[in-house]
Symmetry: C2
Subunit: 216 residues, 2 copies
């Protein structure tokens, strides 16, 4: 069965976004700092239609993360913030622009129904109101033979981790402090059956990969 | 001048000790898990008078940490818990036993005066009541040409980090969750002038070393 693969960047003090997230500053105060290492890479820039960039120890990590993904799941906040019902007159199309970088179906966890949003470049956002398992089933169907990416944010990830539904997790640990914001791990004591399988150390980030302990 | 070198083990969710620390369980619930990687090492066992043990990627890291240390600083809680004035009738001699593993002068940060405690094996505990700078000065004098080790816990480390007094920091990141306990980084946004200088990945722990940015 297609794997559910979760990747996220986290600060040394455990935050995946800074405080005071807003439309202008979707990653919160200081949150962009978590992605500097990625944005510098040629592999990341190519995905966003940009030229140039670095090749370093992080390159194979990012290439692996981007490969063989057929659908993405994300939380409402990661799609476009604003808790509560969608604005029917002027529904916001999220933080991802007219041509988001996914190029496959994206499933958004929300309590508030909304018709599927189709954007350029093979991107669609389907709003799932019946829970994380339903979203995973829909994403797996859409992904076909490929895997499903769990993009975040922290709350969506916690739900999937606690339910033991994540097959692979990669934390890109950035050696900086945010001081406040959204914590990835907030009170849980187990990693939902995941165990460390490999670590890649780059100069500006450390990639910690975990995978499910397979039984039988 | 002798460096102040801080080393500590931290869980993936940012804790350096578990909840409910007690005499019976000085590292709190689950806290021993943070040190499994070290206790397995021949280098660590030799320091504690034990034979056998493993040699792996962590070995040179621990050898470097133990080398050239002439004095240690620690917080009251790390010496022996129990906030408040010392029991004069039956003062506890701490968690470290009759022959602690330091074999050099240790300086304990406390608000409550107490005569220096001399134990076996060249160990002494001097109780410093006039602040972190005074403790550092005393420790540097005692260390002579050697460096000073900052052993923790989290609160003592935060004070030295925030004051920009730490020259080197090594976080041994353990890929497990404690869920609660003592956080190393709790609201601060800078690393007191420290920047990452090298990462060592072992199978069961990742060592993240930081050093002061020297100017001039």
């Amino acid at each position: 069965m297609a794997k559910l693969r979760f990747k996220i960047a986290m600060s040394l003090d455990g935050f995946t976004a800074g405080p005071a997230q807003s439309r202008k500053n979707p990653l919160g105060v200081g949150g962009n700092r978590l992605h500097d290492w990625a944005i510098a890479l040629a592999a990341w820039r190519a995905m966003h239609g940009l030229k140039g960039g670095a090749v370093n120890e992080s390159t194979p990590v990012v290439e692996e993360q981007l490969a063989n993904i057929g659908a993405t799941i994300m939380g409402r906040n990661m799609f476009g913030g604003h808790p509560g019902p969608w604005d029917r007159k002027e529904p916001w199309n999220g933080w991802w622009g007219a041509n988001p970088p996914f190029h496959h179906p994206v499933f958004v966890l929300t309590h508030h129904p909304r018709p599927t949003l189709v954007l350029e470049g093979g991107n669609s956002f389907t709003f799932v109101t019946d829970g994380i398992k339903a979203a995973l089933e829909q994403a797996r169907r859409a992904a076909g033979e490929k895997d499903v990416s769990l993009a975040g944010g922290a709350k969506a990830a916690q739900q999937y981790l606690n339910a033991g539904l994540v097959d692979e997790m990669e934390i890109s640990l950035v050696p900086a402090l945010l001081g406040a914001g959204e914590r990835l791990f907030d009170g849980g004591r187990d990693l939902g059956g995941l165990r460390p399988v490999r670590t890649v150390a780059a100069a500006d980030v450390t990639h910690l990969k975990f995978a499910r302990r397979r039984t039988g």
